[in-house]
Symmetry: D2
Subunit: 190 residues, 4 copies
């Protein structure tokens, strides 16, 4: 496996999409009221891909199809309804094709995880010509990002999250979501 060569189109895709998404809501409205708070991007690490190859019995020559999040972008918003404004903006774009959308905002995963996921096909111009890569865009509020970061950290620190811990985490996710819904109501008050 020539990893350096393998990662090239993904690194380029993440770099290009990071810039494009940074401009997503620029110029739309006064800066203070933009739905997008911040954007981050990353290419999945070789270690993480190798771990998935083993765990999911993947074939090396099918990685580009089987792993949809090698190129990953994340958009953080202030409010829950901003997520759907961002989704609408992404659907109108002509520079990539949306292959799949999954709404884990309204339908949280059992763990408590909430985010809106979009898998896109994005064309990159390489030295060797144009190629298309898959990329995953996650759209979530700052509060959902807070919870997901903590859950990821606990998974990392403890190897695996135990049932009691998992129950508490899912509970905290629910309570956080309730607070966010309250904030949405406050926002609409005059």
């Amino acid at each position: 496996m020539e990893w350096e060569k393998f990662f090239e189109p993904y690194e380029q895709a993440v770099a290009e999409l990071k810039v494009k998404l940074d401009y997503l809501t620029t110029g739309q409205v006064k800066s203070g009221t933009r739905p997008v708070e911040s954007v981050t991007g990353r290419v999945k690490s070789q270690a993480s891909i190798e771990e998935k190859i083993v765990r999911r019995h993947l074939h090396e020559d099918r990685l580009a199809l089987d792993l949809q999040d090698i190129a990953g972008l994340r958009i953080m918003t202030k409010y829950i309804d901003d997520i759907y404004k961002v989704v609408e903006l992404l659907r109108k774009r002509t520079d990539f094709t949306i292959l799949e959308e999954r709404d884990y905002v309204m339908n949280a995963k059992p763990s408590g995880y909430r985010s809106y996921h979009m898998v896109i096909e994005y064309p990159v111009s390489l030295y060797s010509g144009e190629t298309k890569v898959l990329a995953e865009i996650q759209i979530r509020t700052m509060a959902m990002n807070f919870w997901a970061t903590i859950e990821h950290d606990l998974n990392y620190k403890h190897g695996e999250i135990k049932p009691e811990m998992a129950t508490k985490l899912a509970d905290i996710s629910e309570q956080t979501f309730a607070l966010e819904q309250e904030l949405s109501e406050i926002k609409e008050m005059d």
Copy 2:
């Protein structure tokens, strides 16, 4: 008021401190368990300074002393106790002097605002020689940052926050803090 010249040392200070704080916990521990999640920096806008001059009756030639947050850095952590780890790291540094510390983490403002504030004196080398500027470093968890961002946004959108809205916001801050304390306990479980 020559604003461009006025802002120069602050822009330079923010750019330098942003890099320095980005490296604050690098190399300390495995990347997955770093206390610092992200760092941002900004120079206060001219409009915002002019508004404060009027509202607080400030003298233009005393701005550098009276406004301690013209240069502003913000450090986001995962957990509450990470805030104090970061504070310890900042206290050990020799490249700036800490003038003042305020703990709004354990003693929230009446609004519900939580953060640890540090005012530092930082030397910058300008074309005209070395000068010292004040800068404010805010240290807060991702959850405190979520709340503060929403509160700032509501202030911006509504001009002023009404009593009923303020009560609800303060209440949401308390509940968020309670959830964070629960997470801290979960973190210590085996």
Copy 3:
């Protein structure tokens, strides 16, 4: 004229194209032998556009057509023949359309200026939908860039370049080009 709104698509185009051109020769060959040495980008300043409006009697509502270099990218190469390698790479891309090419490398301007110019039409996805903007890509060797930077600086410092100065500058350009051609020969020696 709403300048802020006017500049938006150009700023976005320059930011996106800067990333794309930075990756132009990545992964192609060992880094030591890449034809591209560096890439820069800039949006033409408002002052410079206003000066052109006056001098060339331009209409404000035709600026996007009449000024082809509001968005400007510059690619610096090591050797003269690298310029044409880069041109070939740009012609193969599918993410923009080339409208015009001018070879001032082999046919220097009377001033001594050498560079390869390409005007492209580039699609940007704005909040309001996709729009196409013109951008100019200049491709030149480091030596040509050295000369052009000095000539620009002298123009700026002296307001206008006097005949005697212009003659000397054109002469220096010729001598620099002769040295570059010698270097190309050295490169091919075994």
Copy 4:
């Protein structure tokens, strides 16, 4: 040899010094007449350090003293006299100590190489406390940078530069320097 840990203070030093040198002449004069054209920085690669260990019989525990250019910064100027303006500015700074200066501008190396070299001692605040690292700052005109880049490239491509090639390169360096001196005279004309 724990390379990752070894490189940390150098990476931090280069990142900090890059920002500091970017601001070196900001605000001094109108942007069009700044002596500094661009600044780059890099940490020496592990491969390059290992090659030097073998070739120069270095001890691993003395690398930080024996290799003065592990952290490297480069400042490009327009004119020859700008080099000495930059040197003066660097000498006035209080955030690092200059250990050594070598003027290869007026006293070119036999190869034809021209640059002003400065070795500094720079304090970095690490997690483990303050440490001092050596860094090399090279100051050269754009034309000297053009020549040095080509010479480096030929060395890389040919393994070693043959006598005939070396003679031609040294000759081209002399001619380039003569052209630069002519430009300096043109600059002073009215």
